[in-house]
Symmetry: C2
Subunit: 535 residues, 2 copies
């Protein structure tokens, strides 16, 4: 396809300014792609927000069937992209083609999951309290509630998932599922990839008859991103990236005359608690599996296990020695780009300076990074060596503790995290119910005898957690619950049936489960029974 480097605004391409263009770089060589990309002017940022605003009324009132068909059409278009798409994405990110093909499948599966969610319709949260005209001393009015999209959403994609957490990634898919129009700020790290996907979305819009402006995309740097978050028409923000970047956008959004919710997924070290019993049984296996989890994708995953906690013992020494061996064997890979690479080096340098931290393995070969294993003592963990500050790359810190009591002590002071993993026997788990309870208050996802990388996209998944994992622990950016971030409840009092949305009409034309007078049922309103039919 032809790459233009122009913005997508209201179904048209726009390129008003050409000062300080952006370039698509080869992640390994730094070589520029032939086409330069335009930096959005502030007028273009506002125009994109306005286009999303103008499309919102028509888009949000599309029937669920049409909205689902649109999401599926986007998936079909991405599925149909030819080999040049994967080749360009690989050039821009240094991610191998095989990994990108898996990521494409994940992205399309995600879009189809949201289509199924829209068809199921439970996200509407339909509730009906029938009027009681005869109630004393006051009649009860007829009240009906459902949830609608909050309005145009701005999406900031991640560098490390150029397909699944980017232009048509989880934030965009969930916003579109919620009935929100979208303005994406394309990640500067994969501009050509972004244009491929934006074109795919535009084709899906044309094929399924969605309003122009349902989807918009601008190219730009931090200034354009800041302007987008401040545009009055934008009603919510989805972001995946660094703590500094996420917090900056969050602060801008909260300082607006009308503040808006920001769901920024930012920073997590995903601690792994290794119980003594499992080291005896399968320490060598765990060392291999952990090394694979840490170094997969060159460690550039939000769920990378960056902190591994064990208890001093001869088994622990053997485990560290096994880890060392496994980390030395990991294949060096190129990172996503120069910025990520520099940050990784800076993070490692910081840790190296900390008292009580030593570097056991650090493989770097021609700018490619293999396993990086650090070891820290108890004091470094508890006395402010910053072991919970994310170092984004193929590294982890194994910490030698005095006893299992230290697991509890750490869990009590631990920051918010995306995940916490316990490697243990079932007997350990019974003994450690209080540890699990502590972890539940700190993280979005708790794993038993697994590894946090490889986030399933499903109905039950949570990819979120208390600050600084995200800016709002009440959201998830993966899985069908992600749609709830972009919804708000609306109530109709005493409304004529014909003016009610389909979700709330007497006849229940969408065949939803609705809470009628406190009872969940698919019944029509006239036939509503107080007794629930067995589920």
């Amino acid at each position: 396809m032809t790459i233009l480097g122009h913005h997508y605004i209201g179904g048209r391409r726009s390129a008003c300014t050409s000062n300080s263009p952006l370039f698509s770089l080869d992640a390994v060589t730094g070589e520029r792609h032939a086409v330069s990309f335009f930096e959005a002017s502030s007028a273009e940022v506002l125009a994109a927000a306005r286009a999303a605003h103008d499309a919102f009324p028509a888009y949000r009132t599309m029937t669920p069937a049409k909205r689902a068909a649109f999401l599926e059409a986007i998936a079909d278009e991405i599925d149909a992209l030819d080999a040049s798409f994967i080749a360009e994405a690989s050039r821009e990110t240094a991610l191998p083609a095989a990994r990108l093909e898996v990521e494409r499948k994940r992205t399309c599966g995600q879009l189809r999951l949201f289509a199924a969610t829209v068809r199921r319709g439970d996200f509407h949260g339909a509730r009906i309290d029938r009027g009681q005209p005869a109630r004393k001393p006051l009649a009860r009015p007829d009240l009906r509630q459902y949830r609608i999209g909050v309005g145009p959403v701005s999406v900031f994609g991640a560098s490390n998932f150029p397909i699944a957490f980017s232009v048509a990634g989880g934030d965009t898919a969930s916003a579109l599922a919620a009935g929100c129009s979208v303005v994406v700020k394309a990640h500067p790290g994969h501009l050509v990839t972004s244009e491929y996907v934006a074109d795919a979305i535009e084709r899906a819009i044309a094929k399924t008859g969605m309003p122009a402006g349902t989807f918009n995309m601008i190219y730009g740097t931090a200034a354009a991103g800041a302007a987008l978050v401040q545009a009055p028409e934008i009603r919510a923000v989805g972001f995946t990236g660094s703590l500094a970047g996420g917090r900056a956008l969050f602060d801008l959004a909260q300082a607006r005359p009308e503040p808006i919710p920001v769901f920024a997924e930012m920073s997590s070290v995903n601690p792994v608690f290794v119980m003594p019993s499992v080291l005896t049984e399968r320490g060598a296996q765990i060392a291999r599996e952990l090394a694979a989890s840490v170094t997969t994708g060159c460690g550039q995953l939000c769920t990378n296990p960056g902190l591994v906690l064990g208890v001093r013992s001869s088994e622990f020494d053997a485990f560290v020695s096994d880890l060392r061996e496994a980390f030395e064997q990991a294949l060096p890979q190129a990172m996503l780009g120069a910025g990520i690479r520099d940050n990784f080096r800076r993070g490692l340098a910081r840790l190296r300076e900390e008292e009580g931290v030593e570097v056991l393995v650090a493989v770097e070969l021609d700018g490619r990074f293999g396993g990086h294993l650090l070891k820290a003592d108890r004091r470094a963990l508890f006395e402010g060596a910053g072991l919970e500050e994310e170092v984004f790359g193929p590294s982890t810190i194994v910490v030698e503790l005095d006893s299992e009591a230290d697991f509890h002590a750490f869990a009590r002071t631990m920051r918010g995290q995306l995940t916490a993993t316990v490697l243990a026997s079932e007997t350990d788990m019974k003994r450690n119910a209080s540890l699990i309870a502590l972890l539940e208050e700190k993280v979005g996802r708790l794993l038993f005898n697994g590894y946090p990388t490889g986030v399933e996209v499903s109905d039950a998944i949570v990819h979120g957690g208390p600050y600084p994992a995200t800016t709002d622990a009440r959201g998830t950016s993966v899985g069908s619950v992600a749609v709830e971030r972009f919804l708000r409840p609306v109530c109709y009092q005493g409304y004529p049936d014909a003016n009610l949305p389909l979700a709330l009409q007497d006849a229940n034309p969408l065949n939803l489960i609705r809470l009628i007078d406190g009872v969940p049922t698919r019944a029509t309103v006239c036939a509503a029974q107080t007794a629930e039919v067995t589920l």
Copy 2:
């Protein structure tokens, strides 16, 4: 009962500082109650937050049955308060005893609704994706999600509902229902009333065996409130009050090292759109009903209809004349206190200065306020006379427009509101579907041929709306959905059944409807079918 004026911290009473005490005033005479109330020191504010934090782990893991019984016990204790409670509340707020008795019933009904919500258990949002060990290329892990309380919640009660939106009001009840411990900052306008209710809650805690510190309350002014919102243990805020007060707390909360969600219900003028057809049919009746809605409770209601829009005609002139008559007849009442009274006078004075605004009725008698009716022209509405700035008291502005098209024009530029009301025929409604769609994007509750005051407490109600009605349109502060503000999702991956919370165990011991592999069902996990049993 004996009033002490001491704070409630972790099940004990505390009174460390006695500088600048607070006093309970007679709302009419300004006379002081004999007991002085202590202003919480910053150490006491932190101690209260810490007590809530310490109680949280035990409280949040109480079974739903126990949590529901606790909420019902609070209701029983408030029901059982003797006549001195209502007498004190009436002294502090000038609200008539009959109104306060209704409010007490509402408060207890609200607590019992949340008990029913906890028992029903749908707030858990339980979801299970069963593992697929044989899936290719990768096995799918077993994933289970439910929602837990976010942590300790600080509650700021409203002056105008000293029972229903205060110490044991909707915010406290919904936070406790969510499994969150609570720190209330008592409203300075009804200190004695607050102590009665706090004592009732303490008795319920003792009777049902809840942890000390599940509920805490401090007395203080703005500084104590600011310190409470900034206390690190506090995880969310519920507030009802002014735009300035709500925004100030919101800003503090967002500037924290770890920002927290703030649900502040603040400001709304609740526009009423009067279609020409209804003036012909029942203009005089509407005038009487509107006057009653505006002046009830001396107009001190968040849902007070502060803006009434009609179209120029002889029927409209007759309607304004009927309104004038009805407003003149409203019984003058004392306001909640000197602050509210001064603000009301300031708000009226501001409007009087605006071009295109005239005062038709302004009844004030010995410091008691009757109906206040203002009339504005089209220009004042559209050209920045500030008609959307809430004037809290028994006043409304009737606006004369040129045509029904002006309804649409106003709906397009209108600020966020708690409610919007259309008085119309069903034929008007069919013609005005696009107006309804515009209003849906701006408000939390849409009424047809009703009046916005008198908010039902139920499953389907919404008391919320886009800024500045609230700081977060995704919440409601009335009705059972209010519990969702204080919940966040947590996911268990591959966990042993014994370590799962009851809501997610295979056997479904809470008999919840759970989404299993995308299908809502009450089935146990082993017996889960892909086909849903009919609801």
